[in-house]
Symmetry: none
DNA sequence: GATGAATGAGGCTTCATTCAT
DNA sequence: TATGAATGAAGCCTCATTCAT
């Protein structure tokens, strides 16, 4: 198994959603599955290869997960929960809380948080994005538990800055969309360049340019 | 076969990349493959189902394409070519040419063009996006023949507006990224809402808001 | 494959229930399946072994029968039809028709017919009897299409002899039951002894004793 | 586990053939196995399901029985012994002893005894009948220890009635066969009707009709 | 060119059995 | 004695691909 150990797996190890503990073998299976799924896609991955990479017998996989699909969901479902954590947590350590004086602080915090998340969960995120279109249950769950929650939270934060007298003419949903677009575009290109050595990418500057762009676009000043 | 006939297929019918003509059966195969690949993903699609939907024998597929993968490439490769057409064409009907006085016209033209393209080629685009991560040849070709060409073209257009005295402080690549991010975010959300009936989405307004946002963000006025 | 070729397969070869022709390979598969199912029971038979005995690839089985169970039904269903043939046919060659003057002729004809049937279809009959308890669809079909038809026919024949002034005190269903019990008991023991060499079994005498027993039991004279 | 507790298990509990005592867990395993085997057939039953129904761990089964087959034999072997009990016991409570004045009393006693046995051991009997054809050891043992013993005993009883001046012309084995056929036919149909509610089955009458039929058939009067 | 029966490798899953705890 | 995680062989079935017609 390679060294791309996804961080959130550590939480899984302490006990999965149903509260059961994970054995060491099960955790190796999940690790291997994440790798293989990310590498080849769910449908093109074989349980045989997963078992080999995990160093277990193929049958062992099915002692923990009734089907290959259940294994996929066992990876993706907790990832969704993890995805929204910073948006539902309140108080200390909260990324998007009310203690931000200016919207650019919100943007900066989001960028940092999402980059950190991406760094730790790249493979699982890749699986999530690849498989969502083909699994209606995943789709529905994503919309309900992730999109819904996150957008609601962001809209409220934006609304707060709007009542403070800024960004008056735009619906808060639109503000959220424009902000996220810019951030995701930045992260996407950054990630792309991060993988190539020949790149000329001044990360600090691009980030600040992006934030400034959004602020200006929304009619805000720092 | 459904009625979602992808527009570009008409061009394929007249002759593929190597200049050969396509028979009617081959075209039915390609149509069916596009449908099935888009629906289930390449790896989860069976040549058997494709043959059935195309109304041909399974063997017939392999008369035209040596392997299943070659069939995929036979769909994806011309799609890539099509993807850059408006960016390489000059003169009449040219989407992004120099005859635009203001950058917002460029943005508006891009939006319209890409929406139109998406409308006509949704399934092929879906396949392209889904499969690119798993096929290095496709990746490389996409970067070289699509990304490279399009970005270069856009950077030059942006540069023109910059020498005209606008957007001075930003690298043209950054301007392109910010513009595309906003446009893609708009199109993505629009597409998402377009599929749901309960939506409150004032398309005209969102589009203009987006363009205005980019213009302000870049420090431009109409 | 052994030489226990079941006779009815010849009819299958000319076309199965849905009217399709059977290829030579398919017929070999059916032959092999009958052998293996009879030998080990349906659940303990492997499609792998069937394929080997049929001299085809395992996949070939599933080209003709979607599942192993469908293969079973493809064997058992026509057997059921065959089972009732002598009871539904009328006129010439009809085993149980009205041209019998005495009930003992009926009994004798039934015995001969069933023995002949058993001789030709021993394996399929064994499968039928073994599997019926575990497959509700087979059960239902058997009751409806075999039991129902046969009993009805026999009851009518018996009724005819009853109106002729014999067996007055017994319900016709009871007469049928008693007749069949005796016949089946005879056939069972005969079959059992037929397989052992050390047997002392005077078939002609046992048969006539059985018929005489039934006749006397029903209060009839020849 | 359901409430269909087979009666003979009580004897097993007190000690199996080799004289060892059965623990409570082992008895639960046997109970569960009887249920599952009867329901799905031996080959289609999984030790996993048996363990679950017995409320024990899968490994526990193999502590008591080296293999799944041994578990089957552990059920079937004592059942065979039980099957012949009334035929070997003498004196009080003896079903078929010499104290019967008339053969119809023998028949009536056999019927009652076998019905009672069936009532108490339906599942085990079903297993026995289902599996005997596939296990040569069981076959042989059945013939030697059950068939042989029972037939011998019955033939002697019949012989007694024959020397008393009845049934002169028939071999005693034939008499036994005809008697058993009639009884089994009666019990079979009775069992079949007993499971359906819509039935018109006058049990008392059918039984007496059957006995009278045999008596007449053998040339006897009550 | 078109067909579709045939293939056999490989996929997912089940299962009896073992063994460390 | 009892457990239940682990095994790996084997089971059923799917699939891309071939080839005789």
């Amino acid at each position: 198994m390679s060294d791309t150990k996804e961080e959130w797996i550590e939480e899984l190890l302490r006990g999965d959603e149903e509260g059961r503990k994970m054995t060491e073998k099960q955790s190796r299976i999940v690790q291997a599955a994440i790798e293989v799924f990310a590498e080849k896609g769910y449908a093109a991955s074989s349980t045989n290869e997963i078992a080999q990479r995990a160093g277990v017998a193929e049958g062992t996989i099915f002692r923990h997960y009734k089907t290959k699909k259940e294994l996929l969901l066992g990876i993706v479902a907790p990832a969704m929960t993890k995805l929204i954590t910073p948006f539902v947590l309140r108080g200390f350590n909260n990324v998007l809380d009310s203690e931000y004086d200016s919207y650019d602080q919100v943007l900066r915090a989001m960028i940092e948080n999402r980059i950190e998340f991406l760094r730790k969960n790249r493979n699982v995120l890749k699986i999530l994005m690849q498989e969502i279109p083909f699994h209606p249950e995943m789709q529905e769950r994503f919309q309900r538990e992730v999109l819904g929650v996150v957008l609601e939270r962001l809209k409220r934060i934006v609304a707060k800055f709007q009542t403070n007298g800024h960004m008056a003419e735009l619906p808060s949903a639109t503000v959220v969309r424009l902000s996220i677009s810019a951030i995701m575009g930045y992260i996407a290109v950054r990630t792309f360049y991060g993988e190539r050595e020949d790149a000329v990418w001044d990360d600090e500057r691009e980030r600040e340019d992006t934030i400034a762009f959004v602020m200006r676009g929304l009619g805000l000043t720092r």
